[in-house]
Structure formats: structure tokens, C-alpha cells
């Protein structure tokens, strides 16, 4: 028989205002098994915890029930207190008399009555509690960063600087991500490449960092501290160890009509290419869809000219398996497709471009060598109209319901740069709201309007149409209550951003939760903003929500701090509430193994004594407690009732049900 102590918390007036805590503590004294019952103003306080510890020792308590706030809040606190007093931490049960009682009921009698029932229910459960021990699992001291943009680069560098091995898996041929495509960065207008490429080089040279470019995560098994990851190294048809990045292949390749993705398709590239001059690794890759040799078998020019013999048309995808203790997801974003926005004429007019395309047009390494020209005729545009919120804040189903956050600032940046470089250009910006919170951000935007004479128009564009090569931008000017039409040479759409679509597959592989907009969900919006609810998985950059470069870098460094905090540990405590089979009842049917989402269940051949000196070998279930997450799916699936869950056993839940119903 357990010797149970009950501790009822007032939580100041949070509980005591609607629950007669003294009456609850008094009533509970009569419960069989309860040898001690007490109430106190703040059980979670130092004094409250001391009260519990003393009572455990003085009254030889074998189990305790704390009537207080949600177990999600202070279960860990009370378990620690119990442990300090020599009690197994799993001999503690919480009756949630705050969130589930005092805060939702107004009538004192009713709330007090319910509180008594809730405490009784917890007592009914704790009577059947058994001491549990957490297992331990070793921590693999290596981190995986998925995505090699600025978020992934920053996280990898910080983790590696702390002395841990890091692998960056990047699906493209080079790391650098979206930031590598940008021209200048707000609010300081420093050149994007000048601040990014040194970090890329640092990654390449860091002895603790291994860059797996042109690779994708294929399979993830395991759990925090012990992830087993299968990585596909896509065939690049160029031997990474031999290629020197001399680019002679790019010069000689006869198939030069491939769209240059890095330049947003604004110009072309050969079938064998290095995405951009500062690519890391500086190694070529062949596009097999475009390569004449790979399509027809005839050509092989690049192979002939390659001085180091790096070209290998027969290369196949390779798979490597690696172990990691922690995983950082930094998969980034892409601008949305504009198929639903015919009104802006993007598909029909070459001179209607997205902001990312403008970045490439303004970039000195871009398709026009940094000279701003119209894509249609190569002439310098005299009137440029920017349209903000294209596809953002759209609940009609055409676009995205959220604010993409970065567009107001980069549009101000574009407008300013254009007015600076080409003062003869007229620049108009249609906006719904200008949202520029952040250090030196609003000042930046105002500078565009006040010093650079950018014409900000409060209103939205209804349609863009082409009249003899001029783009007519028709929109409203709400301040003047007019409808205006601006004859423009170039129209720039501040296109909404969305998470890189491959994040869905990665979320599924990691069992990390994802919201309706494909952003990964953080564990707690305020207090755990870089952790995924899945232990050991961390989130950096736009994969978690729209954000600019400074925020991304902060988040990436925060991720790194969390990862380092995990990797310095040698062992992690595993979940104590795991599935536990009764081998004598198991009939070896495998149904539990089929429902287990974690692969924690295997079957073993085991010898059983039958009595009379006879033995029998039977196939029975075996649970790996380090892998089991304790969901209980197997317990209900088992047709013979052989499987149970520690801490939430069938008997415990049955007695809880009984305690609630028998009143």
C-alpha cells in the first residue's frame, strides 16, 4: 500500500479565489492511502518545495500528488523536488486544478467539488505508479545542417567553432543560397557578395566542416543525440576531388542554351557549368538534360579539354550514411509563382520582372554586368514602377495570407539604388502599408522618399497592360482619391516569398511539424523559438517564418548555441515512459511493430522454460527503450494485451476513469 502525500497549491489567488483549497486538502485526508495532506500558497516556490521534501521524509511518503497548475508547467519542478527527497521522480502525479478548474469555473462550490475529483483521480493513478528509471543514450558529437544559405552557413560556422564536426547538406551545386544572388543588402547597403563569400570560404576551409553540395537528405532514423541519416550525393558527372574550377569546360561546351537559374533565367549557361564565380565548392556540374553527350552519346568535348580528367559521364548517385546528434533545418525560401496574378502581366511582358530578377540585373556579376537595362530591348528604363505586396497578405486564395516581411525594405533599397545610380530615372512605388520596424529601418525607407525623391503612392495596382511597348500601370491613389495610370518602362513586382518546397519532405522525414503555409513550427513562439517540437531538430532562417538577413543570422547563431548545448553532453536521459511488453502474453504477430512510427519494436527468438525441464523457442517482441517515444499506439494495437506503457499503464488509466465516474 502506498503512503500518499497530497499537496494543494493556492497559486496565490489563481486557484484559491475559486477553489476552497483548505476544504480540498481536508476532504482528501479521508481518502484511503492518503497519510498526509497540506495546502500552501505557492507550492512551486522554494519554501513550497521544501515543504514537500520535508513531508516526504517525515511521513515516509512513497508517492505524492500535487494539486496545482498544469503538469506541462511544473511537473518537472515537483519531480525534481521529490527526487531530492529520495523519492523516485515518477512517483509524482499532478492534479491540474488551475488551468482545468479554477480558471474556467466561477462558482466556488462547483470548482471545489471538481478539484476534489481531480485530486482523487490523481490519487487513483499514483496508487498504481511504479518507480521508473530513465535510460541513457550516448550523443553523437556531430551536427547536420540542411541547407547551405546564410542561415546554414552561420549555424555551421558557430557549431564548428565550438569544436564539433558539422556537415552541410546543400541540394544545389554550391552553397550561398539566396543571399549569393542579392546585389546590396539593407539597411547599410553593403554588397551582399562582399559579406557572404568570405563566410562561404570560411566554411570550405574549416577543418570541422564538411560541405556536401549537390546532395539531399533521403532518410532520417533515430532520435535526439542519435540520428541516422542517409544522404543522396547526386551525380554531378564531374569528379569533385579532381576538378580545379578552371572553367575551360564552360568555354568549350557547345550546348550553351540552358537557362541560368542563378540569374533567375535572365540569361543562359552551358550544359557544364559552375553556378557563379565564387561558388563553393568551385567545381563544375553537368546538366544531363542539356548535355549533348549524355543525350545523344556524341560530343565529349569537355572531357577532351579537361586537363585533370575530372569529367565522368557515367557517374551515378551515391548514398552515404552518417550519424548526427543534432539537426539544423535551414532550407530557406523561393519567390512564389505568379500564375495567379495575370493582372500584373508578368507572363506576357518581359519588362515586368520580380524583385529577385532586379537584384540580378543590378548585380555587377549579373547578366547585364550591373547596368540596369530593360530585358526586352536592353535600353535604360526611364520610368520604373514598383508594386508591393504582390501575393502577400492575400486571403483570397491566389497568394499567401502572411506578410513576407522583407519586401518593404528591399523595395526601398531598390528605389534608392536606382535613383542614386541613374538620377534621371523616375521611380514610383505602389504600397498598401509600408512596414519597416527594425533598427535604422524606418529611417532607411524615409530616406528613399525624402532624400532620393522616390514617389510613394498609397494604393494598389489593378492592372498592367502594354501599349506600343510602354507598360501602363493603372492603380489607385487613395490619398488623393484618384485612379492613375503611370506609363512605365519597367515594372518590378515585390513578389511574396514561400518556404522552399522541399521542406515538406524534410519535415516528414524529421517528423517536425509544419504549418498550413509550409513554415516549420517552432516549439514555443516566444520561449523556444529556434527549437522544433521534435527533440534535437532546430530551425534557422525563412523555413521557420519570413525574415531578413540580420534576423536569420541571429536565429542561426541561436540554433548553434542550442546545438552546442546538446553536443557537449556525453549522454542524454531517455524517456522513461516507454512501452513494455509482457513476453509471456506475446504471440509474435508483429502488429505492434507495424504501427510503430519509430521502428522501436523488433522481434527476437527467445527460449522459454515450460516446466518439467522442457524449453520452447518462441518469437517475441522486444522494445528498444532508447528509441521508443511512448505514444502508446502499440499498446492498443496488441490483440493479446501484451503491450503496456510505463507511466500511462492501462490499469492506471482505467482507475482514473473509475475515479472520475464514481462520484
Amino acid at each position: 500500500m502506498q503512503r500518499i502525500g497530497v499537496f494543494i497549491c493556492w497559486c496565490g489567488s489563481n486557484i484559491a479565489a475559486t477553489v476552497d483549497v483548505k476544504k480540498v486538502a481536508e476532504t482528501i485526508k479521508a481518502e484511503p492511502g492518503v497519510v498526509y495532506s497540506e495546502n500552501y500558497q505557492y507550492m512551486c516556490s522554494e519554501n513550497g518545495q521544501q515543504l514537500i521534501k520535508n513531508a516526504i521524509k517525515e511521513h515516509n511518503l512513497t508517492a505524492i500528488v500535487v494539486g496545482a497548475c498544469s503538469p506541462r508547467m511544473h511537473e518537472a519542478t515537483f519531480r525534481k523536488a521529490a527526487e531530492a527527497a529520495g523519492l523516485n521522480p515518477y512517483m509524482v502525479e499532478i492534479a491540474n486544478i488551475r488551468e482545468h478548474c479554477s480558471w474556467i469555473h466561477k462558482d466556488m462550490d462547483e470548482a471545489t467539488e471538481k478539484a476534489v475529483v481531480l485530486v482523487r483521480t490523481a490519487i487513483a493513478k499514483v496508487k498504481l505508479n511504479a518507480p521508473l528509471m530513465s535510460g541513457e543514450s550516448p550523443v553523437v558529437k556531430r551536427a547536420l545542417v540542411i541547407g547551405g544559405g546564410i542561415a546554414g552557413i552561420q549555424a555551421a560556422l558557430d557549431i564548428a567553432d565550438a569544436g564539433f564536426e558539422v556537415d552541410i547538406v546543400e541540394k544545389n551545386a554550391t552553397i550561398g543560397g539566396r543571399m549569393a544572388q542579392l546585389d546590396k543588402t539593407f539597411p547599410t547597403l553593403d554588397c551582399s557578395a562582399c559579406i557572404l563569400t568570405p563566410k562561404m570560404v570560411d566554411c570550405a576551409q574549416h577543418e570541422k566542416i564538411d560541405i556536401l553540395s549537390y546532395s539531399e537528405v533521403e532518410e532520417v532514423k533515430g532520435f535526439v543525440g542519435n540520428f541516422n541519416v542517409k544522404i543522396r550525393r547526386k551525380a554531378r558527372y564531374v569528379d569533385e576531388t579532381k576538378c580545379t574550377g578552371c572553367k575551360i569546360c564552360m568555354e568549350k561546351c557547345p550546348s550553351k542554351k540552358g537557362l541560368n537559374d542563378f540569374n533567375m533565367g535572365l540569361n543562359t549557361r552551358p550544359a557544364i557549368y559552375i553556378p557563379f564565380a565564387q561558388a563553393i565548392p568551385n567545381v563544375a556540374v553537368i546538366d544531363p538534360e542539356q548535355c549533348i553527350k549524355m543525350k545523344t552519346g556524341k560530343c565529349g568535348i569537355c572531357q577532351k579539354f579537361c586537363g585533370v580528367g575530372a569529367i565522368d559521364y557515367t557517374q551515378k548517385d551515391e548514398f552515404i550514411d552518417r550519424q548526427y546528434g543534432a539537426i539544423v533545418v535551414a532550407t530557406g525560401f523561393k519567390p512564389i509563382a505568379l500564375d495567379n496574378f495575370n493582372e500584373y502581366g508578368y507572363a506576357d511582358n518581359k519588362d515586368v520582372i520580380t524583385s529577385l530578377e532586379l537584384e540580378r540585373l543590378m548585380n555587377a556579376a549579373g547578366p547585364s554586368d550591373g547596368v540596369l537595362v530593360r530585358p526586352s530591348d536592353g535600353k535604360h528604363p526611364k520610368v520604373i514602377t514598383f508594386i508591393q505586396c504582390v501575393g502577400s497578405r492575400d486571403t483570397s486564395g491566389c497568394g499567401k495570407p502572411y506578410c513576407s516581411k522583407i519586401c518593404c525594405m528591399y523595395t526601398a533599397k531598390h528605389a534608392m539604388l536606382i535613383r542614386e545610380k541613374y538620377p534621371d530615372t523616375e521611380v514610383h512605388v505602389f504600397y498598401i502599408d509600408v512596414r519597416t520596424p527594425g533598427k535604422n529601418y524606418d529611417e532607411f525607407y524615409r530616406r528613399a522618399a525624402e532624400q532620393y525623391g522616390v514617389d510613394y503612392i498609397k494604393g494598389m495596382v489593378g492592372k498592367v497592360y502594354n501599349v506600343n511597348g510602354k507598360l501602363m500601370v493603372q492603380g489607385s491613389n487613395l490619398i488623393d482619391n484618384e485612379q492613375i495610370t503611370i506609363e512605365s518602362d519597367l515594372v518590378v513586382l515585390a513578389t511574396a516569398i514561400e518556404p522552399e518546397p522541399s521542406v515538406r519532405k524534410i519535415a516528414t522525414l524529421l517528423t517536425a511539424s509544419i504549418d498550413t503555409n509550409n513554415f516549420l513550427t517552432e516549439s514555443h513562439a516566444k520561449l523556444r523559438p529556434v527549437e522544433s517540437p521534435t527533440a534535437g531538430v532546430y530551425l534557422a532562417g525563412v523555413c521557420q517564418g519570413p525574415k531578413d538577413i540580420p534576423e536569420t543570422v541571429s536565429q542561426a547563431s541561436a540554433c548553434a548555441a542550442k546545438v552546442i548545448g546538446l553536443l557537449v553532453k556525453d549522454k542524454l536521459k531517455t524517456n522513461a515512459c516507454v512501452a513494455t511488453p509482457d513476453e509471456m502474453m506475446c504471440n509474435g504477430c508483429s502488429q505492434c511493430a507495424n504501427v510503430c512510427a519509430y521502428g522501436a519494436i523488433t522481434y527476437v527468438e527467445k527460449e522459454f522454460r515450460l516446466g518439467g525441464g522442457k524449453t520452447e523457442v518462441r518469437r517475441v517482441v522486444s522494445v528498444n527503450p532508447a528509441v521508443c517515444q511512448g505514444c502508446g499506439a502499440c499498446t492498443v494495437t496488441c490483440p493479446s494485451g501484451a503491450m503496456d506503457l510505463k507511466g500511462f499503464s492501462s490499469k492506471q488509466i482505467m482507475s482514473e476513469v473509475e475515479a472520475i465516474c464514481k462520484m
Binding site: 480558471w103 475529483v117 511539424s513 504501427v595 512510427a597 502508446g632 482505467m654 476513469v657 473509475e658 472520475i660
Partner: protein
């Protein structure tokens, strides 16, 4: 708490709610911290996942005098344990139609998806469920016909 036999008080059904630890229990906590009321006759049992709820628990509740049983879990696709709530959905569809056949109206049983952010939904669901069950009146009590040891 409720005393239907004397008829002195209005009928207050006894409701057992199973909530998964990750979504619905947190949703119930949010209902509490947002001070969104629902009747006191709803009592919540915390389970790690809605798929931990054995049909036996539901039967036990009805046998012991519950008037309604509700299971709450994460939204399909959002299960903390990946696929747990899919099992719940199938299991309970079967169990509830079976209970309906036995004379326990299907309105007395329910599966709802409540996320950790849906305190308002939790409260609304509980209010609605209590109202539905109150209108149905007292439940028939299942009898435990199993032969007990030593009896």
C-alpha cells in the same frame, strides 16, 4: 456531484475527456489561461497520444456511469507521434458505431482535433458536447458481466 435519482437538481452529465499531451491537453490549458469557461462536469485525463486510448477505457467509462466520452487529439497530419491520431480515428469510428448498435447513442461519443493553439475551440467543443449530452439525458449503464476472481 449530480444526483439524477432524487431529481432535485437539473441533470448534469458526467463527461470523460481524453486529451493528448501535445495538442489537446495544451489546448485545454490555453482555454484555462484564456479564462474560457466550459461546464465543470468535463474531467480531463491526460494521455501521451490519442492513440493510447484503448477502446476498453471508453467501455469502462460507460460501465462506470459516464454519460459521454470525448477524445481529443492533434489535427490529422500534425500528430506529435506522426501517425497516432490516424489510428485513433479508425479505431473510434468502429467503436462508436458498435456502441451505437448496443444502444449508446453516437452523440455521446466524439473525436475532436484540437491543437495547442485552439483554446477557444476546446472550450467551444466542450460546451457543445455537454449541451448535446445533457439533451440526451442520463446514459444507460453498461454492466460488467465478467466473472470476478474469488466471487
Amino acid at each position: 456531484m449530480q444526483d439524477v435519482t432524487t431529481g432535485n437538481k437539473e441533470f448534469k452529465p458526467n463527461i470523460v475527456a481524453f486529451c493528448c499531451n501535445w495538442c489537446s491537453y495544451a489546448g485545454a490549458d490555453l482555454a484555462g489561461s484564456s479564462r474560457l469557461t466550459y461546464p465543470a462536469n468535463v474531467k480531463i485525463i491526460r494521455v501521451p497520444c490519442s492513440c493510447r486510448v484503448n477502446p476498453m477505457f471508453v467501455l469502462k467509462a460507460f460501465q462506470q456511469g459516464a454519460d459521454g466520452v470525448i477524445l481529443c487529439g492533434c489535427h490529422p497530419g500534425d500528430c506529435h507521434y506522426v501517425t497516432g491520431n490516424y489510428y485513433t480515428r479508425r479505431r473510434m469510428a468502429l467503436l462508436f458505431s458498435f456502441l451505437n448498435y448496443m444502444g449508446i447513442e453516437k452523440e455521446r461519443t466524439r473525436v475532436e482535433w484540437v491543437s495547442a493553439a485552439e483554446g477557444a475551440k476546446f472550450s467551444a467543443v466542450m460546451n457543445d458536447f455537454v449541451k448535446t449530452v445533457t439533451e440526451l439525458g442520463e446514459n444507460k449503464r453498461l454492466t460488467d458481466l465478467r466473472v470476478k476472481e474469488g466471487k
